[in-house]
């Protein structure tokens, strides 16, 4: 089948017909259909369900450490039940386990949920559908991409059960803490597993990204010019390019760390005395690690964010019944963000001992990113202006995304300023900032995508009322969790402290911590509504009609049947851009991309 797909790549338009019939003819076994599937739709669902499971794990972790932060020293049966007597003796969280939970929560959320889960689900689902292709360029590599992802999640989760506990040096795993087993128990076997898991994750990400890029460039159907692609596809394309260029740097960064850990090299280590003896390592520098790590780490933020922005662009236009405002400006701003994301990594390092002059260069490049970001935010708002907004749960989450993108974005201006960063670096102000701008925005985008394309994935509709309940509980509790954290930062509270009440300085902040934790618990329970709706609707939801949202894009022209090859007959031909909503002089308020232009009709926003 791999070679078949390669042939298909070259002669897609001529040969597809026969291929489709080939596939229809033979019955597939359960294993090849649902487990080792090469079908982009199945792989997309595999990514989604894995990500949902991982998200539940990471969210439960956050509830545990939030309970410790709000009520330090209190005994909770819940903590004991979750962590057992070793890590949660008498229901009190162990300090090393606290750090481990913070570390694995961050790792899972950033990489497994918001990178693998978000890109893996929606790039796989939407790229072939929205550009009019039968499948990904290479179904086989696509399958490998999922299985590398799966193995890496298994290793990461497995590391939770080992004797010394999982990696616990923070998700940024700065050496020497992560390099020396004596420094922290999590840097023993747990760190080794973390590094293995991340390496496999990068393999998965690269296989996926290369596939997305090749598919978008080569397999667009007739008439699907680059300037007619939905913004989702643009976002996935730019994300994939960023991933291909930045993830390999993480591998080299991790590889050098593995060498330092296991083969006594000194890339990151020098002049260290630990565990009662001086180490032999001389000449390395942890600052080198920080440079390499953040060379991926910062683009990673946009790898997480751009797909969410692409998804919302599509959903906001569809549900406002208006063309997305400034289609080309949206593409331009995504390209600008993608480019700039590679030259801003130093803003994580203003106070690391890096040359202050270098710091000032990064101030300049970082603040430049605010410009395309502002353009995007204003374009979203203008898209709503004089719209005819239909409030599906997906639309609610999309508006939630725009709000969190603004709210979290503006504090980025403070953090990008090296001077102001001095006093809030590594405080809760930072935690508030990135959770709102990256965490909330990306997860809102993911929820929006799930509600919007659920009918395409599972051929059934999700329950609307439960969707409403889920949105409002999530939206309100999310701001309840992360907004007060700014004030903890203003009081100078460092992040990753096991408790803030060990010395007097932060004693007056107890009520802030309680509000945060209570909001987090409500927010976590609210996800139960989503999980129920998700799994219930998968089996018992109402049958989905052909085009439930009256949308223009190609995925809604395929039969509601999840067939191999996506379209039973010929591939559709595209005649116009994706955003002809409420175009004057048209009978309906949407004109699918497959409808030919009338005589004298302009494409792409002119009329």
């Amino acid at each position: 089948m791999a070679s078949e797909k390669n042939t298909a790549l070259e002669t897609e338009h001529l040969l597809h017909h026969e291929h489709v019939h080939d596939h229809d003819d033979h019955e597939e076994s359960f294993v090849s259909k649902y487990i080792f599937s090469m079908d982009h739709k199945v792989i997309s669902r595999q990514f989604l369900i894995t990500a949902v499971v991982m998200a539940v794990i990471a969210m439960t972790m956050s509830v545990i450490f939030r309970m410790q932060l709000a009520w330090p020293g209190e005994k909770f049966a819940f903590i004991n039940a979750m962590l057992g007597d070793k890590w949660g003796k008498d229901g009190i969280l162990d300090p090393n386990m606290y750090l481990a939970l913070v570390t694995i929560h961050g790792t899972i959320m950033v990489f497994f949920v918001l990178t693998g889960g978000l890109s893996g689900t929606f790039s796989n689902l939407l790229i072939p559908y929205q550009i009019g292709a039968r499948d990904m360029a290479s179904g086989f590599l696509n399958m490998l991409s999922y299985w590398f992802f799966f193995i890496s999640t298994v290793i990461m989760c497995g590391s939770l059960f080992i004797d010394d506990g999982p990696a616990s040096g923070g998700w940024t795993i700065y050496p020497p803490l992560s390099a020396i087993p004596e420094a922290i128990p999590g840097s023993k076997l747990g760190m080794t597993l973390w590094l293995m898991s991340m390496t496999l994750f990068v393999v998965s990400s690269l296989l996926g990204s290369l596939n997305y890029i090749v598919t978008i460039i080569n397999l667009r159907t007739k008439g699907m010019k680059m300037t007619r692609m939905p913004l989702t596809i643009w976002a996935f394309l730019i994300t994939a390019i960023i991933g291909v260029l930045s993830f390999p740097v993480l591998v080299s960064c991790v590889l050098l760390l593995i060498m330092d850990r296991s083969f006594n090299t000194s890339f990151y280590l020098s002049d260290i005395y630990i565990g009662g003896r001086p180490l032999d390592n001389v000449g390395g520098s942890p600052v080198l690690f920080e440079h390499l790590f953040w060379f991926l780490g910062h683009p990673e933020v946009y790898i997480v964010l751009l797909p969410a922005l692409g998804i919302t662009s599509e959903i906001i236009a569809t549900n406002a019944r208006k063309p997305i405002f400034g289609y080309r400006a949206m593409i331009g701003s995504m390209l600008a963000i993608g480019f700039l994301s590679f030259i801003v990594w130093g803003h994580h390092m203003y106070v690391t001992g890096m040359s202050p002059f270098l710091g000032s260069v990064f101030v300049f490049t970082t603040l430049l990113i605010a410009i395309p970001s502002a353009v995007k935010a204003f374009n979203y708002i203008t898209t709503l202006w004089k719209g005819n907004i239909r409030y599906t749960p997906a639309m609610l989450f999309s508006i939630g995304l725009v709000s969190s993108f603004i709210t979290g974005g503006v504090t980025g201006i403070i953090l990008a300023d090296s001077t102001l960063d001095i006093n809030i670096h590594d405080t809760y102000f930072v935690v508030a900032h990135f959770h709102i701008v990256m965490g909330l925005s990306a997860i809102f985008g993911m929820f929006a995508g799930v509600y919007h394309w659920f009918p395409k994935m599972f051929l059934r509709m999700m329950n609307k009322k439960l969707g409403y309940v889920h949105f409002w509980l999530t939206f309100i509790s999310a701001y309840g969790v992360f907004f007060p954290m700014h004030f903890l930062g203003l009081a100078g509270v460092p992040r990753r402290y096991y408790t803030n009440s060990n010395f007097p300085m932060f004693d007056n902040l107890v009520d802030i911590n309680e509000i945060v934790t209570i909001s987090a618990i409500i927010g976590a329970l609210a996800q139960g509504v989503f999980l129920f709706n998700f799994f219930y609707s998968m089996f018992r939801g109402e049958k989905a009609p052909q085009n439930p949202w009256n949308s223009n894009t190609l995925e809604w022209t395929t039969p509601m049947a999840n067939i191999h090859g996506n379209w039973p007959g010929e591939l559709p031909t595209v005649h116009r851009w994706a955003y002809d909503y409420s175009k004057p002089g048209k009978e309906k308020d949407f004109v699918p991309q497959t409808v030919p232009l009338e005589e004298g009709e302009h494409d792409g926003g002119g009329h």
Partner: protein, 344 residues
């Protein structure tokens, strides 16, 4: 007990299942499409967006009103005063942008809530508008960059003050040691291989310059009104020197020396009489009384602000700022390295 919990869960599942059956059956009877968004849904959600905005902005001002006084006190260092001005200017700017843009977002979400009779305006782009929201943020950012970098250069310039006080802060899991120069005004060289119980910061015992160096734990002192240059080292992992009251922070990185300079402007005693600090301490002591802990007085604190291991949360040291005379008297009482080492 466990049995009862399991039984309750099983019963809940059965009850839930029955409830769902009822809902499904009644849905079948009515033949409605539940997922379809009606005009009344749009109306309700649009209004909810507006209500949320009121709630959200209310929450914002409630928090500012309640918690802004718990922020760090006004800066106690010369550059910190400028830092605070820059902070305020930026904070007002972003608060305005935050409120204005969120207002437009939610207002539009409310105003243009749809209904089946309405028609959206086909409005795909407008170059003038897009120019406005490219140029205006760019101008605002230009100001932010220019002022930010001006202060940044001043703060990070190497100290050239001949009368500066040099203090080395030495970090290890999980405490700090301060080292002062002694009479010769110079810090002795170090060698991490010589670290031992009696030589915890790794003084090079062959270097006579270091013999008069003074080593201090638990609490260190600096004089008010003089430039202090911190030289920062670490023994094991990355730590971070964080002196929030002075708006000062710099990582402690094994294998290298990092620097941060500042000029303290308020003594610890002055701070304890400052009305802002008094109010802050009232809040702290009120909470401590609730937890049956002793009341405390204000102290400057040096915190570790880079994850460094299990006791990261407990790696701090008090700092006393005092008059130069008091400082010198305190310094005279500290023991020099050589006498410390000889006694061990």
């Amino acid at each position: 007990m466990n049995f009862l919990v399991i039984l309750a869960i099983v019963l809940l599942i059965i009850a839930g299942h029955q409830l769902l059956r009822i809902i499904e059956l009644s849905r079948g009877l009515k033949k409605t499409t539940e997922w379809h968004v009606t005009d009344s849904d749009n109306n309700m959600m649009g209004k909810a967006m507006l209500a949320f905005m009121v709630l959200f902005f209310g929450f914002f001002f409630w928090q500012v009103n309640r918690w802004i006084d718990r922020s760090l006190p006004p800066a106690s260092s010369e550059h910190g005063e400028k830092y605070d001005q820059l902070w305020d200017a930026n904070m007002y700017l972003i608060s305005f942008v935050f409120l204005a843009t969120n207002f437009f977002l939610f207002w539009h979400a409310y105003k243009y809530r749809g209904n089946s009779k309405a028609q959206a305006k086909y409005f795909a782009h407008d170059n003038r508008l897009e120019m406005v929201w490219t140029v205006v943020p760019a101008l605002a950012l230009a100001f932010i960059i220019i002022f930010g970098l001006k202060y940044w250069n001043e703060i990070t310039e190497q100290s050239e003050d001949p009368n500066k006080v040099v203090v080395e802060l030495y970090a290890k899991q999980f405490d700090w040691t301060a080292r002062y120069t002694g009479k010769d005004g110079k810090l002795g060289s170090t060698d991490y291989r010589q670290i031992s119980g009696g030589n915890s910061v790794g003084m090079d015992t062959a270097d006579v310059v270091g013999y008069d160096d003074l080593l201090v734990k638990n609490e260190f002192h600096i004089p008010v009104g003089k430039e202090v240059e911190l030289q920062i080292r670490s023994r094991d992992v990355i730590h971070s020197v964080y002196l929030p009251h002075f708006r000062a922070q710099m990582n402690a990185v094994p294998g290298m020396v990092t620097y941060f300079k500042f000029k303290p402007t308020k003594t610890t005693a002055e701070m304890r009489k400052d009305p802002y600090v008094i109010k802050l301490m009232e809040g702290i002591n009120k909470q401590r009384a609730k937890e049956n802990k002793e009341p405390v007085e204000f102290d400057y604190t040096l915190l570790c602000n880079k994850i460094c291991g299990a006791s990261h949360y407990n790696m701090q040291m008090n700092l006393i700022v005092e008059s130069e005379a008091d400082y010198k008297a305190w310094l005279a009482k500290q023991k020099a390295f050589k006498t410390v080492a000889e006694k061990k």
